[in-house]
C-alpha cells in the first residue's frame, strides 16, 4: 500500500533525525511538500507525530511511547526464547533452562528436556540462589554493579536451604570471570556430579532480562564436548536475546 510506505518512510526519518522541518522530510521521502504536509497533519491528528521543540519542527509523537510500552509488556520471554532453548537441547543433547530473577533467587520459567533428566534439580517454577549454578550466576553477573554488590552481600548473610559459598569477595571475583568469558560454568555446586553452563539473555535496551543454560551429568557438559557445549549456550542465549529485540550492546 503506497500510503503505508510513505507513512513508514516519514516515521523512519523522524526516528533517525529526532525532529525535522516539513521540507526536509519531503526531500528525504522524495514527495511533494504539499502531500507531506497533508500526511503530517493526519499523523499529528492520530498522535504519531507532534510539534518539535521549535516552531516548524516535527517529531515522533507520544503514540510510539505508549505502543512501545504495550509491546514490551506483552513480550512473553518464554515464548520468544523457546526456539533457542530447543536448539540448545538439539545441539548439546542436554536439558535446557530459562531463568529470570526474583529477589535473591533465579526462577526457572521454562525447561526443555534432553538427555537424562533424573539428576536435575530444577523444574519450572523451581528456584536457586543467584550466587550458585549456571543460569543464576549468568543472570547475576550482568546486573548493574550496585545490584550485584547488594545481592552478594545479602546472600552471604542469608540462610539458604542450599549450600552457597561463604566468601563474598570470591563470589564477586567469580562473577567477573563470567563477564569476561560471557558464560558461567557450574560444576557440582548445586548437585554433586551435575554441571551446567549458562549465559545471559538481554532485552532491547541491553539489560539482562533472563539467562539460558544447559545442565547434565558432568561428563556430558564438561567432558570431551566442553567447548562445543559452551559455544552452543553462548549462541542460543544470543538468539534468545535477539528474539527480545536485543541489538548487540550490553548495558549494566
Amino acid at each position: 500500500m503506497e500510503m503505508v510506505d510513505k507513512v513508514e518512510a516519514i516515521v523512519s526519518y523522524l526516528a533517525l533525525v529526532g525532529e525535522s522541518t516539513v521540507s526536509a522530510v519531503a526531500q528525504h521521502v522524495d514527495e511533494p511538500v504539499s502531500s507531506v504536509y497533508r500526511l503530517l497533519s493526519s499523523l499529528v491528528r492520530v498522535g504519531w507525530v507532534s510539534a518539535g521543540t521549535r516552531r516548524g519542527l516535527y517529531r515522533l509523537g507520544l503514540f510510539f511511547l505508549r505502543v512501545g510500552v504495550q509491546v514490551e509488556n506483552g513480550i512473553d520471554i518464554r515464548e520468544r526464547a523457546l526456539p533457542a532453548l530447543r536448539r540448545a537441547v538439539e545441539e548439546t543433547g542436554q536439558t535446557a533452562f530459562l531463568c529470570v530473577r526474583h529477589d535473591l533467587r533465579a526462577v526457572c520459567i521454562e525447561r526443555v528436556a534432553g538427555g537424562d533428566v533424573r539428576s536435575l534439580a530444577l523444574w519450572v517454577g523451581g528456584t536457586l540462589p543467584l550466587v550458585i549454578g549456571g543460569a543464576p550466576r549468568a543472570l547475576l553477573a550482568y546486573l548493574p554493579e550496585e545490584e550485584v554488590r547488594d545481592v552478594v552481600e545479602r546472600s552471604t548473610a542469608e540462610k539458604f536451604a542450599e549450600a552457597i559459598p561463604a566468601d563474598a569477595r570470591a563470589i564477586r571475583v567469580n562473577l567477573e570471570a563470567v563477564r569476561t568469558s560471557g558464560v558461567s560454568v557450574s560444576e557440582g555446586d548445586v548437585t554433586p556430579g551435575v554441571a551446567a553452563v549458562g549465559a545471559p539473555v538481554f532485552n532491547h535496551r541491553g539489560e539482562v532480562q533472563a539467562a539460558l543454560s544447559v545442565s547434565g551429568v558432568r561428563e556430558n557438559i564438561l567432558g570431551e564436548r566442553r567447548s562445543a557445549v559452551i559455544e552452543s549456550v553462548r549462541s542460543c542465549a544470543s538468539e534468545a536475546s535477539r528474539a527480545l529485540g536485543w541489538q548487540g550492546e550490553v548495558v549494566r
Binding site: 507513512v7 523522524l14 499529528v44 504519531w48 517529531r59 515522533l60 510510539f64 512501545g68 530473577r101 526474583h102
Partner: protein, 251 residues
C-alpha cells in the same frame, strides 16, 4: 496546520489496527477486521502493507502481532523529546537516592503518560510493569497535573473518574480536596489507588520562567517501603524536578 481536521482515512485505520494489536497482543486478520470495523479485504490490504514495511509480523498460527521494531521506535520517540534528554540520568540518581522506581510523566490529552522510568533496586522483571498512562484522578502524577496545570472544574465536567482499586478517588468533591492538598504540600501522594500495595509520591516540574512544564517526577513502590512518612522523599524529588526543569530547552 489544523489538527482538528479529520485524519486521512488510511492513517486513521492504520492507527486503529496498531492500537488493537497493541492492546490485545496477537489477533487473526479477521479479528482485526472485526475490531476496526473495516471490510475484510481492506484490512487485509492494509495489514499486508504494514507487514511489508516491518511494523506488523505474522506468527506461526496465522495471527498477527506488532513487530519488535516498535520498541526501537519508542526509544526514538523518547530521544526526540529533547527537552527531557537528561531524564534518564536524573531518574537514575533518584533511584540511587531512594531505591524506588522513578518516573517522568507528561500531561497528554488529559492523562498522565509515563515517558521515562528507571527500575528501583531489587524490583524484579516479573513484578515490574511501568504504568502506560493513567487518568488524572489516579496516581501521583495525575494529581500533580490537576494541581498545577489543569482547570479542575472543567476537567470534572468532562471526565469520568474510573475505579482502579477500592482506594481510587471516584468522588469529585474528594478529588478537589486532594488536589488542594497537593498544592498546599507541593507534592502528591498516591496510596494504593492505582495498584494494591503500591504507594507513590510525585512533584511538579517547572521549566524556564517558573512555568509549569505539564510534567511530574515521581517515585513508586511497595507501600511498606514507604512506611509512615513517604514525605521524607520529597526533598530528593524536589531536587530531581529542579534538575529536570533547569535542563529544559527554551523555545
Amino acid at each position: 496546520m489544523s489538527p482538528k481536521a479529520a485524519p486521512m482515512k488510511v492513517v486513521a485505520k492504520a492507527s486503529d489496527v496498531i492500537d488493537v494489536l497493541a492492546a490485545e497482543g496477537a489477533l487473526t486478520p479477521s479479528e482485526v477486521a472485526a475490531r476496526v470495523r473495516m471490510p475484510r479485504s481492506s484490512v487485509y490490504r492494509l495489514v499486508d502493507g504494514l507487514v511489508a514495511v516491518g511494523l506488523v509480523e505474522p506468527i506461526a498460527d496465522g495471527r498477527l502481532r506488532l513487530s519488535l521494531r516498535w520498541l526501537g521506535l519508542a526509544d526514538a520517540a523518547r530521544r526526540g523529546l529533547r527537552e527531557w534528554r537528561h531524564a534518564d540520568e536524573v531518574l537514575e540518581r533518584l533511584v540511587e537516592q531512594t531505591g524506588q522506581t522513578s518516573y517522568l510523566s507528561l500531561l497528554v490529552d488529559e492523562r498522565a503518560v509515563c515517558i521515562e522510568w528507571r527500575r528501583g533496586r531489587g524490583v524484579d522483571v516479573l513484578a515490574f510493569k511501568p504504568g502506560l498512562s493513567l487518568p488524572l484522578s489516579a496516581g501521583a502524577a495525575g494529581r500533580v497535573m490537576l494541581a498545577y496545570g489543569v482547570d479542575i472544574d472543567a476537567y470534572l465536567a468532562r471526565a469520568s473518574l474510573p475505579r482502579l482499586t477500592p482506594y481510587t478517588v471516584t468522588d469529585p468533591v474528594e478529588l478537589k480536596r486532594q488536589v488542594a492538598l497537593t498544592r498546599e504540600r507541593g507534592y502528591a501522594l498516591s496510596h494504593q489507588d492505582v495498584s494494591a500495595g503500591i504507594t507513590a509520591i510525585g512533584v511538579p516540574i517547572f521549566g524556564p520562567n517558573r512555568v509549569f512544564a505539564s510534567a511530574c517526577v515521581s517515585i513508586g513502590g511497595l507501600s511498606r517501603a514507604f512506611g509512615d512518612d513517604p514525605e521524607r522523599f520529597a526533598p530528593a524529588l524536589r531536587a530531581a524536578a529542579d534538575q529536570l526543569g533547569a535542563s529544559m530547552l527554551t523555545d
